[in-house]
């Protein structure tokens, strides 16, 4: 062995060559490229359009026992918004229930006799809404729409009923006005696109990294790597960096699609999004490498990666609000990196949040990335017992 002069650049040169190798392998793999670069965006477009919480054209059944100009006016309010359409009318209670059961209608509006008269005399009147709550979420949305329509009806009641007796009671005592800030029209694509984007970046990052080291184990190349003097940090860096670049590339195209195809506003700074995304990807990639170094086959790695992906997505608040989860599950979501990144990216894009405002979730992500990377490096062994 010749004694070589100490070359301080040598460790970096090894990393650079590891990177080159990974990139060559990725670009040599003709089958993988479209999976990485086309599939996610098809998903983005499909999911963002399909996964909307808007409930359009709710069918309702009407039972108007009053049949006055005021009751007719109220019904017209429902039908004219475009959110509701009338599918039937009757004056017997069981007919309404039948309509719900046969799914002919999702809601029954019951306007009692003397609705108008009571309104004129006392300033109060009641109507009944029977909503099919098989799908609780759906029912909530329907109730929200109905509530909105009735409130606006309440506000206009003085104009509609000039003959109303006591002006003091004209205005309902409690008036709840809701309006969607940061997304005033509640356009769901604006809300969904950033979230779906996070999921795509996660899936690509997690699966590419989880399959990588274990693949080298399966084809035996890990043995050849392990007998070289490559250090653990060099190996892990060589594995992390290419996927970080791919992940950020994916994010870039996704953001572009969000802007051009979905017109999602961007109130915050792109630089901040990339900064957070880098930290987030380190969590995901660290986790992927951890899975990869602790499994023996790609099949095992695939199952574990899926296990976590499903839990993370379902507990991310992307499809079901975190607030409606049981308490223990809400606490659990604090450990979920997807939840935090979804939260941050929505805040930055829709609200224009700056770094001071996202310090808590960002801090959690930073801690997670440190833990994951440390575990991945520690668990990767070049010698086995």
């Amino acid at each position: 062995m010749k004694s070589m002069p100490k070359d301080y650049l040598q460790p970096m040169r090894i990393v650079v060559h590891l990177l080159r190798k990974e990139f060559i392998q990725i670009f040599h793999n003709k089958g993988m490229l479209p999976l990485i670069f086309v599939m996610p965006f098809i998903q983005l477009v499909i999911l963002s359009n399909a996964a909307t919480f808007d409930v359009a054209q709710v069918p309702f059944h009407l039972q108007d026992y009053d049949r006055t100009p005021l009751s007719e006016h109220l019904v017209k309010r429902f039908t004219s918004t475009g959110y509701f359409r009338m599918t039937g009318e009757s004056s017997r209670q069981d007919k309404g229930i039948d309509a719900l059961i046969s799914r002919e209608a999702d809601m029954v509006i019951v306007i009692p006799r003397e609705f108008e008269k009571e309104m004129i005399n006392s300033g109060h009147a009641r109507i009944q809404l029977v909503i099919n709550a098989e799908d609780g979420f759906n029912a909530g949305v329907v109730r929200g729409y109905a509530y909105e329509i009735i409130s606006s009806f309440n506000r206009d009641i003085k104009r509609l009923l000039p003959q109303m007796s006591s002006p003091a009671t004209v205005q309902p005592n409690i008036e709840i006005r809701s309006s969607g800030w940061y997304n005033p029209e509640l356009v769901y694509s604006e809300y969904m696109v950033p979230g779906v984007l996070v999921v795509l970046v996660t899936i690509i990052g997690l699966f590419l990294s989880a399959m990588n080291v274990v693949r080298e184990k399966e084809i035996g190349t890990i043995d050849q790597i392990n007998v070289t003097p490559i250090k653990r940090w060099q190996f892990i860096t060589g594995k992390l960096f290419p996927f970080l670049v791919i992940g950020l590339g994916e994010l870039t195209v996704g953001l572009l699609i969000a802007r051009v195809a979905f017109h999602v506003p961007m109130l915050g700074s792109y630089a901040l999004i990339y900064f957070v995304a880098t930290i987030y990807l380190l969590v995901v990639l660290g986790m992927g490498l951890l899975i990869s170094t602790t499994t023996d086959t790609q099949q095992q790695a695939m199952f574990i990666a899926w296990f976590f992906t499903v839990i993370f997505i379902l507990l991310s608040g992307l499809f079901t609000p975190i607030e409606s989860m049981p308490h223990w599950a809400q606490n659990l979501t604090q450990l979920n990196p997807i939840r935090h990144f979804v939260d941050i990216i929505r805040r930055i894009m829709l609200k224009g949040s700056v770094i001071e405002e996202i310090l808590v979730p960002l801090g959690i992500l930073s801690v997670q990335s440190a833990v994951m990377l440390t575990l991945a490096i520690v668990r990767y062994r070049k010698i086995s017992a």
């Binding site: 190798k21 040599h28 035996g220 043995d223």
Partner: protein
Amino acid sequence: MNPAVTTENLSKRFGKVEALRGISFCVPEAELFGLIGADGAGKTTLFRILATLILPDAGNASLLGLDTVKSYRAIRTRIGYMPGRFSLYQDLSVEENLNFFATVFGTTVKENYELIRDIYVQLEPFRSRRAGQLSGGMKQKLALCCALVHRPELLLLDEPTTGVDAVSRQEFWQMLGRLKQQGITILVSTPYMDEASLCDRVAFLQEGRVLAIDTPTGITTLFRKPLFAVRSRDKHRLITKLRTYEHAASVFAFGDSVHYTDLRQSPEPHELKAWLKTEGFDDAEAEPVKPGIEDTFMALMESGESPEENS
């Protein structure tokens, strides 16, 4: 001369399987040392311990004076290991693989070109072909190149010629000979007996134990029983019949003849021939032959223990 490899009582078990049961041997510098054994004899486990990839349960091994457990880092820069399974990057080209392994060892192909030139010239026409698309022989040459690119002092080659055609095997062994001349110690395992005779010394391995270590010619002296080559047209029936002969010790097919050993100290070949005639083998020929490595190996396998202890 300092030993390049020493192992003392190496043992390794995987669950219930005892892969190695106390392996001890010593290989001096610049020797071409062969490990012969059937599949499952423990050759690969032994190589993996020596290559610092797995830890032994008991015993110790040192390479170039360095302990495989304590000084594994230093060892890795000074040895070249070629696993039994082709383990280069199939999706990288010949050149990319070679450059990659040169760099991770902190060197360049150019620096050690002279060492690998003989092999590399044969690979040159396929420089930009992916390693996965090379023929078996070419793959092994590339693997050898990659194992040599950092100029190791010791080569560990685990069944390098398994699944390679006869011509490539021959070329491969010629290369090993040249590398040995350059002072590189080579530890090679092979299931082929003809290759065993090309080694300076060989060790027979069975069920994790060393049965014998000697030079290829020396090892045949361990074969003490009288050996005959018996020929007849109907080889298959000959084998079956010979096994029923009262004095038969062992009967194996060997090329176009049958190798037969007798239980008696000095049997007469004409006696055997006469018996065969009565059994209907009119054309039977029997002549005493010198035992080869394969005969010795078979005999040792049969007895399952060291012949020195046996006789």
